[in-house]
């Protein structure tokens, strides 16, 4: 089995004007693992995510996914290559139903063109049907109830919106899933269910998961490796126990939290 990291970044930085948001980060994601990035607010975690998914271009450095350089690749191509993500502040298409949202996620796996869509050829019909069925299965898989699936995204409960967003990401058949604060706004019970779900994704679908998370219970419970960011720099990395014991981490992150 391939044991190379699925994604690596080599000395990646992102500079906005005079602000160094991410500074010289070398990082990799081991295959079929659940790893986390933690760090105080403004540490550059989401900026780093946005570079991995092509929304931002790295100012310097190199990012490779499955051995291919994606530093300057467009977001839609990165998605097509197998990276999918969710957003910190849920970004569902709110006037579409849950099913339609997930169908959008399948866009890059579909082939219907403009002429085929106008003529609605048997092939296009079949594709639409398959995609719709797959979207429903995906929603079942993440635990959105059947009667909620045809609801508009904006009418769903917060927890369901999070689930739909994960289903939408999964619909693009990713090998690497990036979750940006997936448990934000969830109660402990929901967080626990999500943690179990992530383990299922890894074990049943063979996915690699990278998440940004603030909930230490979730992070420590599920992560096989934790990377700590502070002021745009990677300050520590290792298994949960090591990171928890690291004095720099305690100072930068956990210490503050205890004080609060």
């Amino acid at each position: 089995m391939n044991e190379d990291p699925i994604l690596t970044t080599t000395r990646v930085s992102k500079i906005f004007g005079g602000l160094v948001a991410v500074n010289d980060v070398t990082f990799d994601i081991p295959r079929r693992r659940i790893v986390s990035i933690i760090g105080p607010n403004g540490a550059g975690k989401t900026t780093f995510f946005n570079m991995l998914t092509g929304l931002y271009r790295a100012s310097t450095g190199r990012i490779t996914f499955e051995g291919k350089d994606i530093t300057r690749t467009r977001p839609d191509k990165i998605t097509k290559a197998g990276v999918a993500r969710t957003f910190q502040n849920i970004r569902l298409f709110s006037t579409m139903t849950a099913v339609e949202n997930v169908m959008v996620g399948e866009h890059s796996r579909m082939k219907a063109g403009i002429v085929g869509s106008v003529l609605r050829t048997p092939w296009v019909r079949k594709e639409e049907r398959t995609v719709r069925e797959k979207a429903r299965e995906m929603l079942d898989f993440v635990g959105v109830r059947k009667d909620q699936q045809e609801q508009l995204a904006s009418n769903l409960s917060y927890g369901d919106q999070r689930r739909v967003e994960i289903a939408r990401a999964l619909a693009s058949d990713p090998t690497l899933l990036l979750l940006d604060e997936p448990t934000a706004g969830m109660n402990p019970n929901e967080s626990l269910r999500l943690t179990e779900f992530m383990i299922r994704l890894r074990d049943e679908l063979g996915l690699t998961i990278l998440m940004i998370e603030h909930d230490m219970k979730v992070v420590m419970g599920v992560s096989e490796r934790i990377t700590v960011f502070d002021h745009g720099e990677k300050i520590a990395e290792g298994d949960p126990a090591t990171v928890r014991a690291n004095p720099r981490v305690i100072e930068a992150y956990l210490g503050k939290q205890e004080a609060a």
Partner: protein, 382 residues
């Protein structure tokens, strides 16, 4: 299946029956009037505007790209008939699939169906050209670039009589206009003359039906979903694997092609292609039609276009024109028709911003607001 998420809450069967009835009435409509009736004339023009409205609807309504230069495609479509269906290029002697009458004339004379395809293709290319500089822009900025594009095309139309292509052949005839344009000549249909307007009407209706069909099919397709996704949230759309450039350019190209088809029809119908037809106000006129009807809603756009067009050609000049003078005011209502459209638009924005026959998605966006709706708010408040 998808129809349920379309414009209305009515059951599908009722929708279908309503649409069928509307189309049936539209088909028999001219039979109730004399062949050369003013009503048939006005309705023909109204139908041509419906085609443009539906084209602009793809760009503004579906993809959420505010286009203020749509008149450019009317111009390019109309000039296609000027170039390929008239004696404008008298030195050339090219005749392709035309009747005996046109065959005897000097100039380039091609069958209308060919010209229609050329017009659509030229406009699709022009649509992509106008789309390219707007790709990195949002909302207002797209509007400004497209507005400029419309003006550039208009200036080309006006000054085109100074622009030489080869020999004596000029680009346009400027303000003088290229006239006459060949009448449409199709097999199995009555002769298209200025006395018998029915064939013109039915041709326009056929164009409307084709464009309507394409609009509906695209709305409920992979591409339609992609358009709505990028209208709502570009960042999320790109992250879900939608190629922004290609998807936007597709909207521009499709919308422009419809504008070109309508322009080609109007070129032949109005029998002249003249630079003064392509003023900025026309873009706003078409935009007002689709806002009035309901952005993104195909049937709303049809109703809005018909309504505004008939207000323009019927209500203002024929019915209400003398009202100011009867009140002792020294102007004709025709002189202030754009003021009236503006007033209607303001009225609409206050009373029913989602349009006469709103699309459901739009209604949700307007009444509840969505995170990615900045551009949209700008559209509806333009």
């Amino acid at each position: 299946m998808r129809r349920r998420f379309g414009a209305r809450a009515l059951p599908r069967g009722v929708n279908f029956a309503l649409a069928a009835a509307a189309i049936a009435i539209a088909i028999v409509f001219p039979l109730f009037f004399p062949q050369g009736s003013g009503w048939v004339d006005d309705m023909t023009i109204a139908l041509a505007y419906v085609v443009m409205g539906l084209g602009l609807n793809v760009v503004v309504g579906y993809a959420g790209l505010l286009d203020l230069g749509y008149v450019a495609f009317f111009a390019i479509g109309a000039y296609t008939t000027g170039w390929f269906m008239s004696g404008f290029y008298g030195d050339a002697n090219i005749h392709v699939l035309v009747g005996e009458f046109a065959k005897a004339l000097p100039g380039i004379h091609m069958n209308f169906l060919i010209v229609l395809v050329i017009a659509a293709a030229l406009c699709a290319i022009a649509g992509i050209i106008i789309g390219l500089p707007t790709l990195r822009l949002r909302g207002d900025y797209i509007a400004i670039v497209t507005l400029a594009f419309g003006e550039i095309i208009r200036v080309f139309a006006i000054e085109g009589n100074e622009i030489t292509i080869v020999g004596d052949a000029k680009l346009t005839a400027g303000r003088q206009g290229i006239t006459p344009i060949d009448k449409i000549d199709l097999p199995f249909i009555d002769q298209f003359t200025s006395l018998n307007l029915r064939p013109w009407y039915w041709t326009a209706l056929a164009l409307v039906l084709v464009v309507l069909f394409v609009n509906i099919r695209l709305r409920d397709s992979r591409l339609g979903r992609a358009w709505i996704a990028l209208r709502e949230d570009e960042v999320a759309a790109a992250s879900m694997g939608i190629p922004l450039v290609k998807t936007k350019l597709m909207a521009y190209a499709v919308g422009a092609a419809f504008g070109g088809m309508s322009g080609a029809f109007l070129g032949s119908f109005l029998n002249t292609v003249n630079a003064d037809q392509f003023a900025f106000g026309f873009s706003i006129f078409i935009l007002a039609m689709i806002i009035l009807g309901g952005l993104g809603s195909v049937w709303g756009v049809v109703i809005g276009s018909l309504a505004l067009s008939l207000i323009n050609t019927r209500l203002i000049p024929d019915v209400l024109n003398d009202v100011p003078s009867n009140l002792g005011l020294d102007f004709n209502l025709v002189d202030v028709n754009y003021g009236i459209f503006g007033f209607l638009l303001v009225l609409m924005m206050v009373l029913r911003p989602e349009g006469l026959l709103p699309e459901r998605r739009r209604q949700i966006e307007l009444h509840e607001g969505t995170p990615g709706d900045e551009a949209l708010v700008e559209v509806t408040h333009a």
